[in-house]
Amino acid sequence: MSTTTSSTTSRPKHNRQPRDIGKWLTAAWSWLVVIFLMIPIGFVVAHSMNGGNSFNIWKEFGGLKWYRELLSDLSLRATLINSFKAAIGSTLIAVTIGALAGVALVRKPGRWTKVFLLLLLLVMVTPEVIDGFSLLSWFFDRGFNRPFETGVFGIRGGMIRLWIGHSLFSSAVVTLIVRARLQGLDESLEEAAADLGAPPARAFRQITLPLMAPALLAGAMLSFSFSLDNVIVSSFVGQDSSTFPLYLLGTVKSSTKPNVGAGGVLLFLVTMLFAFVTIRVLRRSGDSSGDIAATIAAG
């Protein structure tokens, strides 16, 4: 490929970095997508301060009255708290078992992988209604329903069931993402760790884990939002721990009021705060190999 372009035969005036068209195009596109994703959020925030009685229809600025109402509405408040708890619990479960399975799939392949992948596919293919209903009958038909019915360690049975129900799909997602990340990631790094005397568990924690941190973070974020959004499974197993989406689903007999927006915004803010605190704490934890946030930032 010859580079003879007439314009560049004379010495350029100043040091111009070449335009990375790809960068600008993808950046512009990404911002458009982010704006697309954000538009509704903006309206949710605005309409949560609607002075009218309907969430969708703007009447006038009503300040924070729906927030105040929300906070005095015990049942609605409880659903927000439950949603949050369910999301944390199921995310922890999903990330833990999903990460382990993802690692095993890539690093310890064997005949079992096929069986497992099929199971994984089944977990994902199964409609949530079925997950929900079969879990419900499973928990209550079988003899072992104690912890799932009344709860253990002060955790309600419903919450435990939510964790289980929500974690099914999420953990499959985490598994796939972790697998996608580890495939092709240099195995010699883990060998180097073993060579330097790190037993598998430690090598995993100190080398593999930080290297797959982006996958874990991505998986965790997705799991969290799945759980926050889950209606169908929750509607079956949630029972003594009703969640915010369930409340929303239940409002079919009446109008959607701005308190729904206020609830969304509150949950949103709390989640955001939680995410930032988590990232902060992970970054602070000092141990370089546990520096997940920095790793994701640095690739």
């Binding site: 240099d186 010699s188 790094l189 060998e191 180097a192 760790a193 073993a194 060579d195 330097l196 005397g197 790190a198 037993p199 598998p200 430690r202 090598a203 100190q206 080398i207 930080p210 290297l211 370089s288 190999s289 520096d291 790793t295 640095a298």
Partner: protein, 393 residues
């Protein structure tokens, strides 16, 4: 006495030591080790015994199985056949992290998310060495490889040579009983390389660590090693001390691989080996006696020729031809002489160099002490020699 191929293990038992030493910390023993990748045999029935505290170099052509051998010792690959003992212990099934062995990886394998210092500290942290001691030892190791200034860099922000030095420091700092080094100095400039060689040697003798050292630099191997193992296609061709390998190569391959050699193909006879153009090679120390009438190889090193512009009147160990080229290499001159059978490459110190120009007729002769003779089995491996190739152009 050097024995080739399958029964190398016999010759590898050094006379100075007896078997007791193989139980000692730092001894390494491979017996009949074979490793296959699919149908491809990477390591082929390999026998090798390394003494505790020995500095053993592995030399061999690209792809001959050096890295694979080290990987089996470190525990990343399991031999398909054969046994490995380290410090007297059979290591089948012992995972890498429980072997008191450290590796300098050919491709470095630095942890990208850790700084240089953290990389180096990693092994010590595994052993729960206390913090202050870790600092001291890491600082020492970094100082040795001259990387102290870059201690806080991430691997991706460093040059190839800098990365290699970190890889070296990371393995060294642990002072294992066996250290496996896979071309650990290949990316360093000569000066730094020599400094590192000295440091390594010193460390090795001070701490009594067994070094198994892969290198492509023959001088390095010669200068540093107690013994050198020359590998070919997954097995050890010769295992001996540097001088023996150079002076008494066990096979034509070794003779051609270590240093340079001019090879002639001929027929063994009672007089000696007779090349196609009638040149007769008489050897004073035939390593391998070839039965008369069979094909044989004769070899003479470039440094061993005397070149004269007058006929030295010899009946054997002489070849005549015309000068094809003369080149200067510092204080040595290289002559390529076009003879009947082949182009001869000769290296002579300036003092002994004859004043001849390309086209002049010359006689090359050599002493019987400098003739190696071998069977013709490896003729294909050695006859297409860089010198030949060069001469053909």
């Amino acid at each position: 006495m050097n024995i080739r191929g399958d029964n190398v293990s016999q010759s590898t038992k050094p006379a100075s030591d007896d078997d007791v030493s193989f139980g000692e910390r730092g001894s390494v023993e491979l017996t009949g080790v074979t490793k296959r990748f699919g149908s491809m045999i990477a390591v082929d029935n390999l026998d090798l015994i390394v003494q505790p505290g020995e500095f053993l170099s592995l030399l061999g052509p690209s792809g001959c199985g050096k890295t694979t051998t080290l990987r089996m010792l470190a525990g990343f690959e399991q031999p398909d056949e054969g046994y490995i003992r380290i410090s007297g212990q059979y290591v089948q099934g012992i995972p890498a992290y429980q072997r008191d062995v450290n590796t300098v990886f050919q491709a470095y394998a630095l942890f990208p998310h850790m700084t240089v210092a953290e990389n180096v500290a990693y092994g010590l942290r595994q052993k729960h060495v206390n913090k202050s001691q870790i600092s001291t030892r890491v600082a020492e190791a970094l100082d040795m490889v001259k990387m102290t200034k870059l201690a806080n860099r991430k691997p991706r922000q460093m040059s190839g040579g800098q990365q290699q030095r970190v890889a070296l420091a990371r393995a060294l700092v642990n002072r294992p009983s066996v250290l496996l080094l896979d071309e650990p100095l290949g990316a360093l400039d000569r000066k730094l390389r020599e400094e590192m060689q000295i440091e390594l040697k010193l460390l090795q003798s001070q701490l009594g660590i067994t070094f198994i050292f892969v290198t492509h630099d023959q001088e390095e191997a010669m200068g540093m090693s107690n013994r050198i193992a020359i590998m070919l296609e997954g097995h050890v061709e010769q295992l001996a001390d540097p001088e023996t390998v150079y002076e008494r190569p066990a096979s034509a391959f070794v003779a051609g691989f270590i240093g340079r050699n001019n090879f002639w193909k001929g027929i063994a006879s009672s007089e000696g080996i007779v090349a196609s153009d009638g040149t007769i090679f008489v050897a004073s120390k035939p390593e391998v006696r070839v039965p008369a009438g069979e094909q044989a190889l004769a070899a003479v090193r470039p440094e061993c020729f005397v070149i004269t512009s007058t006929d030295p009147q010899l009946t054997h160990n002489v070849a005549t031809g015309t000068v094809a080229s003369v080149s200067h290499f510092g204080d040595t001159l290289q002559y390529v002489v076009h003879t009947g059978a082949r182009d001869v490459v000769a290296l002579l110190p300036r003092a002994q160099a004859p004043r001849v120009a390309p086209g002049d007729p010359v006689w090359c002769h050599w002493s019987a002490d400098d003739v190696y003779s071998f069977g013709a089995a490896q003729a294909d491996l050695v006859l297409v020699d860089p010198a030949d190739a060069e001469a053909l152009r």
